[in-house]
């Protein structure tokens, strides 16, 4: 390996580590702003979701056909999607805040940030897939 290629590799590694260290590319105040907004938003949409359960007897609302019918209603599907996104963002950021207090090393901090973002994206993707399938669209 030439010295140039070694330098390039080093720069790449540096950029990677910089990206990992800047994984929280938002400032903490911006993250907390999102945290509060998603919290209030989740309260609002969950309230609608619970009220929708009460328009018919509670047992009936959880029957298979009724649940699938809910998914087929595009507005209700959007409501479920927004619940999923808001709670995932709010919940995983809350978890991140708790985990950050446990240890104060940089590796831990980066690890927690990456883990939380990956888990959040994973849950949102899985939930969205469920909503789409239940809605009647086939994913290939």
């Amino acid at each position: 390996m030439t010295s140039d290629s070694i330098k390039n590799n080093r720069n790449k590694n540096k950029n990677m580590t910089k990206w990992f260290s800047d994984i929280s590319f938002l400032r903490e105040s911006q993250i907390m702003k999102i945290h509060y907004i998603t919290g209030v938003g989740a309260l609002f949409v969950v309230a609608i979701h619970i009220m929708m359960r009460l328009i018919m007897p509670f047992n009936m609302s959880l029957e298979f056909e009724n649940v699938i019918l809910n998914y087929k209603n595009i507005f209700y599907a959007l409501l479920l999607e927004s619940i999923l996104v808001l709670i995932a963002i709010h919940g995983f950021n809350g978890l991140r805040v708790i985990l950050l207090e446990l240890r104060q090393t940089q590796i831990w901090e980066r690890g927690v940030n990456i883990l939380v973002i990956v888990a959040m994206i994973g849950i949102i993707a899985y939930g969205t897939r469920t909503i789409i399938i239940a809605n009647g669209f086939s994913l290939g």
Binding site: S24, R27, E28, S29, I31, M32, K33, Y36, V97, L100, E101, L102, Q104, E109
Partner: protein, 307 residues
């Protein structure tokens, strides 16, 4: 020489009077202790972490004479003077203005010089070093981390117009009473570390600046003479910064000077979120006071009141 002699005689008379006073006080304490219990048990936390890192912490007990006005610091000094001279205490002013004698008294962080034994209503007084601080010896703790946090928030006014060496004129920075009111209570902080020791977040997160540093960050942020506000916010707006406060409020509960660090933290947070209604109201009032018509109205009101 004459003056020297005079001084010497004065000294001798002073010493005699002191001896007489001591005898009197000894008599009074002995008579009072015999008549009704005027002595209390003092339990002192003992450790010598610097000289002997393997030293096992333990409590030593002392019986100390107590009067109505005796403070915990007086009792500790009594025990140190007459029973065990090796007790480690840090103190200086004895009037709650230096913040040196902070310790955990009966489970609560307090200033020893500011806590009267009669107010504690117990026969046993337990003195421990401040929690969240590393031990040095007995009741003396290491404040280096605490002061490092304090320094990190830049506890000084930064003004680009100030300190210009080429300009010989003295510059003046006006500050209205309304502006002063925004931060006045936070400037009473004596850096005793009681709020830091009471903070549950500091107990788990050592990178958290603590209530003292954060309230000082607000004190300088709110100062109208300061011009480096954005940098101040950057320092505390980190993953272990101001947002890790749980708002337990124990910092405000233990402050001996009546400072409310929790309020400072909440005000700073509102600034970071871009919501600071209370201060906007103050600003509006200020604008009105600058307006001549409003001044005239005020003057008229004052005249009417005088009549």
């Amino acid at each position: 020489m004459k003056i020297f002699k005079k001084d010497k005689t004065k000294k001798i008379t002073n010493e005699r009077s002191l001896e007489i006073e001591r005898e009197r006080s000894n008599k009074s304490t002995s008579s009072s202790s015999s008549s009704n219990q005027k002595s209390k048990k003092l339990r002192i936390f003992r450790i010598n972490a610097v000289q002997n890192p393997n030293d096992v912490p333990h409590f030593d007990e002392f019986q100390v004479p107590v009067k109505r006005w005796t403070t915990v610091l007086d009792a500790l000094l009594d025990a140190k003077s007459y029973q065990d001279s090796s007790i480690g205490i840090r103190y200086s002013c004895r009037m709650a203005s230096c913040g040196s004698c902070g310790m955990k008294i009966n489970g609560i962080p307090r200033l020893a010089c500011y806590t009267k034994i009669s107010d504690l209503d117990t026969n046993t007084i337990t003195c421990e070093p401040l929690p969240n601080f590393p031990y040095i010896r007995d009741l003396v703790t290491d404040f280096s981390q605490f002061f490092a946090h304090h320094r990190s928030v830049m506890p000084f006014i930064q003004n680009k117009k100030a300190d210009i060496p080429d300009v010989n004129e003295l510059s003046e920075y006006e500050q209205s009473p309304q502006d002063l009111d925004k931060f006045l209570q936070f400037s009473y902080c004596i850096k005793c570390g009681l709020c830091y020791s009471a903070c549950p977040t500091v107990a788990t997160d050592l990178k958290f600046p603590g209530p003292q540093a954060l309230s000082q960050a607000y004190r300088y942020y709110a100062d109208s003479r300061d011009s480096d506000k954005s940098n101040r916010l950057k320092v505390i707006d980190t993953s272990h910064g101001i947002w890790r406060c749980h708002f337990a409020g124990s910092c405000s509960n233990v402050c001996p000077k009546g400072v409310d660090p929790a309020l400072g933290i909440q005000l700073l947070r509102s600034h970071l979120l871009g919501i600071s209604n209370s201060e906007k109201k103050i600003a509006k009032l200020q604008d009105r006071s600058n307006n001549n018509s409003y001044r005239e109205e005020l003057e008229e009101e004052e005249e009417e009141e005088e009549k």
